[in-house]
Symmetry: C2
Subunit: 272 residues, 2 copies
Amino acid sequence: MWHSKDVYYLSGSTGILAEDLGKSLLCQFPEISFNTEKIPFIHTAEDAKKAIEHILSQSSGRYPLVFSTVMNKELIPILDVCEVEYFNVCDDYLVRLESVLESKPIRISGTARHLDDTSMGDRVNAIQYCISHDDGSLLKDYDEAGIILLGVSRSGKTPISVYLATQMGIKAANYPLVAEDLNSYRLPSAIVRNKAKAIGLSTDPKTLQFAREKRYKNSTYAQLKTCKEELNQANQIFLQYNIPIIVSDGRSIEETATQVAQLMNLKRLPRL
Amino acid sequence: MWHSKDVYYLSGSTGILAEDLGKSLLCQFPEISFNTEKIPFIHTAEDAKKAIEHILSQSSGRYPLVFSTVMNKELIPILDVCEVEYFNVCDDYLVRLESVLESKPIRISGTARHLDDTSMGDRVNAIQYCISHDDGSLLKDYDEAGIILLGVSRSGKTPISVYLATQMGIKAANYPLVAEDLNSYRLPSAIVRNKAKAIGLSTDPKTLQFAREKRYKNSTYAQLKTCKEELNQANQIFLQYNIPIIVSDGRSIEETATQVAQLMNLKRLPRL
């Protein structure tokens, strides 16, 4: 068995896909440690030669894993040499798709991110919107939101809404439930009239306590009792206004964000 | 040739990887239009049966493409039926890695995002930091930054720094070059002492004009002449302080962010 392995991510563009795929696969072998390096923007034969020389100079004789999304047919033979274990990710699939779709691929890296100028503009707008509505201070602008995340302080609203904006181009706003809302069991009218876009974030009291302790150590705010009470009040408010609840604890940002997006799609369907 | 094709992304976790891979491949066939749908969180045989029933009920006889990152060996035969063109992304590679690495994969979806609690905490902190330092108003906190992006108003600092924080867990701060800086060709001392972490963002005048017009139509601020002048001044400041420049126009958020991260790595190496 190997205990350590060198890994390279090669790409004609950013290398984000090669790295994501590699990470998903390699973490399935927790007993092995991996030394990884990303080499993005491989555009020319010169770039490809440099990349493989660098790889061999560092990992010669150690048979490194190479996850490559390089699509340029002329560059692949330069990179796929017998001293490396080459995972020819995009090319293999393009060959298969070419036959299934009976169409020739253009084989230009980075196309997915370039093609869609509108969606890039949407993402930039969504990020700006999300940042300027992170603290719930601009109540009048909630009408513009795509999604409104409600939750008590430190329940994880910010990372989720930033992710929704950055990756999915969704104008995600936050509304922090403060003492006034919690004690009166009422939401402001700007939220109530946008209820269809609201999702309640909840978590377990210990996770919340941990997050709050980091901010204000030994405060009433961070006490387990306070956390339990506020989460209970928040959940009651969500139920009362018929706002769906997502429990985020133990989940990654990506998982919770995907659940939020799924739930919004369901809510948009008729009769739900 | 096909003119339209149904596509499904299946996953035991979020489906982000399956979708990214699919997007990268499908945009290589610009003549074909694709109808896509994501089915995430396929955990049980029940989930898998539901998914394939849904796919066949919608796309029966149309031989849809299915990009699947499902890793559970018992679920794959349920999904990989002869009525679909199944791309068995993770499983195929896991089988190959099992033999190369001489180790058994654990085959648990979502592991990449769960394993690393520290990096999740880092990302959450980086996002909070990035949001509270988006406008350059807290000069004293720049010592804490991992990267400081400098640029004139609307040169694209915010989306890049949000991406760096969300995806790479980098504490990315912005510093907007205002008239005072531009006219004096000087940077504040908080930036100068953190110069090693600074990167200048530039763009072409027309792109900048377009972005500014959207914010304040027909203003002096958005005139092409103003844009040219400010970009020139900014570039001179960057050169004068020996701050590397990245030109973002025509690039996606991901590409510019990857370039910024690459440049920071280079800067961290000795003798550069």
